[in-house]
Symmetry: C2
Subunit: 305 residues, 2 copies
C-alpha cells in the first residue's frame, strides 16, 4: 500500500528492497511487490528449528552477502562483519536497557512512547539511535530515582503480546493508556522478540560469525516457527519481571501464525492465573469504540482481583 501510494520515502529512495519468507502473507505479497520495485531480494527462512533449517539459513545469508557486495561494491570481511555485529548488539542492548527501566513503579515512560522507540529501532541510523536511547535511559533513571512517573503508582500494568505494531499504528496502546492501564512491555516483533537476543560473536572468521548470526536467529520465538513453545515461557517471564497485572494478546487480521497461537497463549496464561484479553483487529479505526469498551472492562476486572 505504501508503495502504491508512494508515501514511504524509504522505499522510493533505496537501491534494493529485501524481504524474508516469514509468513504466507508476506512471502506471497512479495510476488506482487517485486513487480513494482527496481530490485527486490528475498531471503528464504526455515519453518522448523532443525539442523537442516540452520544449513538453509546459513546458505541464504551467504547468498545475501554476495548480493550486498554486488550492489555496494564493498567486500564483506570478518572485520567489517564483526563491526556490524557490535553496532547491532549495542543497539539491542540500548533497547534492553530501556525495557528493564520499565520495571519501575510508577513507570518512568508510557507504553506509547516506549513503543515509538522500538518502532524507530527499524529506521534510524544504528549508532545515532543507540546514543539517543541511552540518553533517554539516563533521563529515565533520574526519574526513577526521584520517583517520577507518567502514570500514578496504582495504575494497572499490562504486557502486550502478539503481532508487530508498525508506525503509525498506535491505536491499541493509545486506547489502553487512556483506559486506566499502562503498558510495561511488548512481547512482539516490534519489541522484545527481535531485540532480546544479542549475537554471541566469539570467533573470528566470516564463516564462524555467520554461524553466530544463525544461532541468534534460531533463538527467536516467532510464531512462524513450528512448534514454538519458548514464546509461552517468555511471556510469563515478562509478566513476572515487569510485575504486570495481565496480558493483552494483539492479533492482526489475516496474520494466521499469531492468531492461531493466541488460543494456546490464552489457555496457558489463564491456567497460570494471568488474566488475558485476546483481541483481533486491523489498521482501521472503525473498531476503536468497541475495543475501548472491551479494554476498559478488562482493566476494571483486573481492579477487582
Amino acid at each position: 500500500g505504501f508503495k502504491l501510494g508512494k508515501v514511504c520515502p524509504y522505499i522510493e529512495a533505496c537501491d534494493i528492497v529485501v524481504g524474508e519468507n516469514t509468513c504466507d502473507g508476506k512471502k506471497k505479497s512479495y510476488e506482487i511487490l517485486s513487480g513494482l520495485l527496481k530490485d527486490f531480494y528475498v531471503i528464504d527462512l526455515p519453518q522448523m528449528k532443525s539442523d537442516e533449517g540452520k544449513k538453509l539459513l546459513k546458505q541464504e545469508y551467504k547468498k545475501f552477502m554476495t548480493k550486498l557486495e554486488q550492489i555496494s561494491g564493498k567486500k564483506i570481511t570478518a572485520d567489517s562483519l564483526k563491526k556490524g555485529i557490535e553496532i547491532t548488539n549495542a543497539k539491542r542492548n540500548a533497547v534492553k536497557r530501556l525495557a528493564t527501566l520499565r520495571k519501575a513503579n510508577p513507570v518512568p515512560i508510557s507504553g506509547l512512547d516506549a513503543l515509538l522507540v522500538n518502532q524507530v529501532f527499524f529506521y534510524d541510523d544504528p549508532v545515532r539511535f543507540t546514543e539517543s536511547v541511552n540518553k533517554l535511559c539516563d533521563e529515565l533513571e533520574e526519574r526513577i530515582k526521584n520517583k517520577v512517573g507518567v502514570f500514578p503508582e496504582h495504575t494497572k500494568r499490562l504486557v502486550i503480546s502478539g503481532c508487530p505494531m508498525a508506525v503509525p499504528n498506535w491505536k491499541v496502546p493509545w486506547i489502553i493508556e487512556t483506559s486506566g492501564a499502562t503498558i510495561v512491555g511488548e512481547e512482539s516483533c516490534v519489541g522484545e522478540r527481535g531485540t532480546q537476543w544479542i549475537t554471541e560473536a566469539r570467533d573470528n572468521t566470516v564463516d564462524e560469525l555467520l554461524d553466530a548470526i544463525v544461532e541468534r536467529y534460531f533463538q527467536i520465538d516467532c510464531a512462524i516457527f513450528t512448534p514454538n513453545p519458548s514464546r509461552l515461557e517468555h511471556i510469563k517471564s515478562m509478566v513476572k519481571e515487569l510485575k504486570a497485572d495481565g496480558v493483552i494478546h494483539y492479533g492482526l487480521q489475516f496474520c494466521q501464525p499469531y492468531i492461531i497461537e493466541s488460543h494456546t497463549v490464552e489457555n496457558s496464561l489463564e491456567a497460570d492465573g494471568i488474566p488475558t484479553l485476546r483481541i483481533e483487529t486491523d489498521y482501521g479505526q472503525e473498531d476503536a469504540g468497541q475495543l475501548k469498551t472491551r479494554i476498559e472492562a478488562f482493566v476494571e476486572m483486573l481492579g477487582n482481583k
Copy 2:
C-alpha cells in the same frame, strides 16, 4: 473439527497422523491437533525451489522413513520403495487417463463425479482405486465413441483453479453444473496439481529413489512455493487442451497462498483473453444463493462472446 467431533473414522482408527508444513494455516493448526492425537508427525517442507530446499526435503523424507520403519516394524528397502513408487505412479496414470477423456465434447462425465474420483484418490487402497478408475475410463471411452455425454454439446466448459475441495465440499461444482456449465478440469490440489507428475524412478538405490521423489515434489506448482510462475502456464495449457470457455478461481477463506495468487492468475488469464471469475468462499452454505447468481451471470457472459 473432524477430530473434535470424532466424525472421521480414519483419524480414530489410525496409528499415526502425518502433516506437512505447507501453509501457515496448516502448520500452526498442527500445534493444536497434535495435543489431541496419540502420535502426530510433521514433515517440514521448503518454501523456495532452491538446492538447499531440496536438501532439507530429502533429509525430512529420510527421517520420515525411519519413523515409518519404527511404527510398522518393517524395513524400507530399494525394492519395497520402488514397488511403492510403481503403485503410486499407476494410480496417478489412472486419474491422468480420466483427465484426458474429459477433453471430449459432449463430456462423458460430470465435473462433480470426476471430482469425487479425485477426492477418493486420497482415501482408497491404491491398487483397488487404480483398477476402479481404469474400469470407469473403459466405460467413458465407450461413451465417447458413441457420442454420449452427461450434458449437451453446447454446454459451456469451465476449468476450476485454486484451493482443494475436500469431501464433502461439493458446493461450488454443484452450483456450476446447475447453472448451464460443466467442469472439464480441476487445477487444484484435489485434481491435477497433485496427480499430473509421476516419479521418474530410473535408478535403484534407496538414496537415488529418494532423489527421484524429491525431484517430483519440486515440480508441483503449489502456491506455498514462492515464486510460483509455472502454475500460470499450467492453467493456460489446461484451458487450451480441454477447450474450456473460462476459468473459475476458487479460494477458501484464510487460505492466503491461493487468495494472494488469485490476483496474478486473474490478471494473467484475462490478458490472454480467458474469462475468469474469482470467488472466495468457505465450507458453509450461507453464500450459496449469492454464488449461484454470480456464477450464472458469468456463464451467461461466456455465451455472449
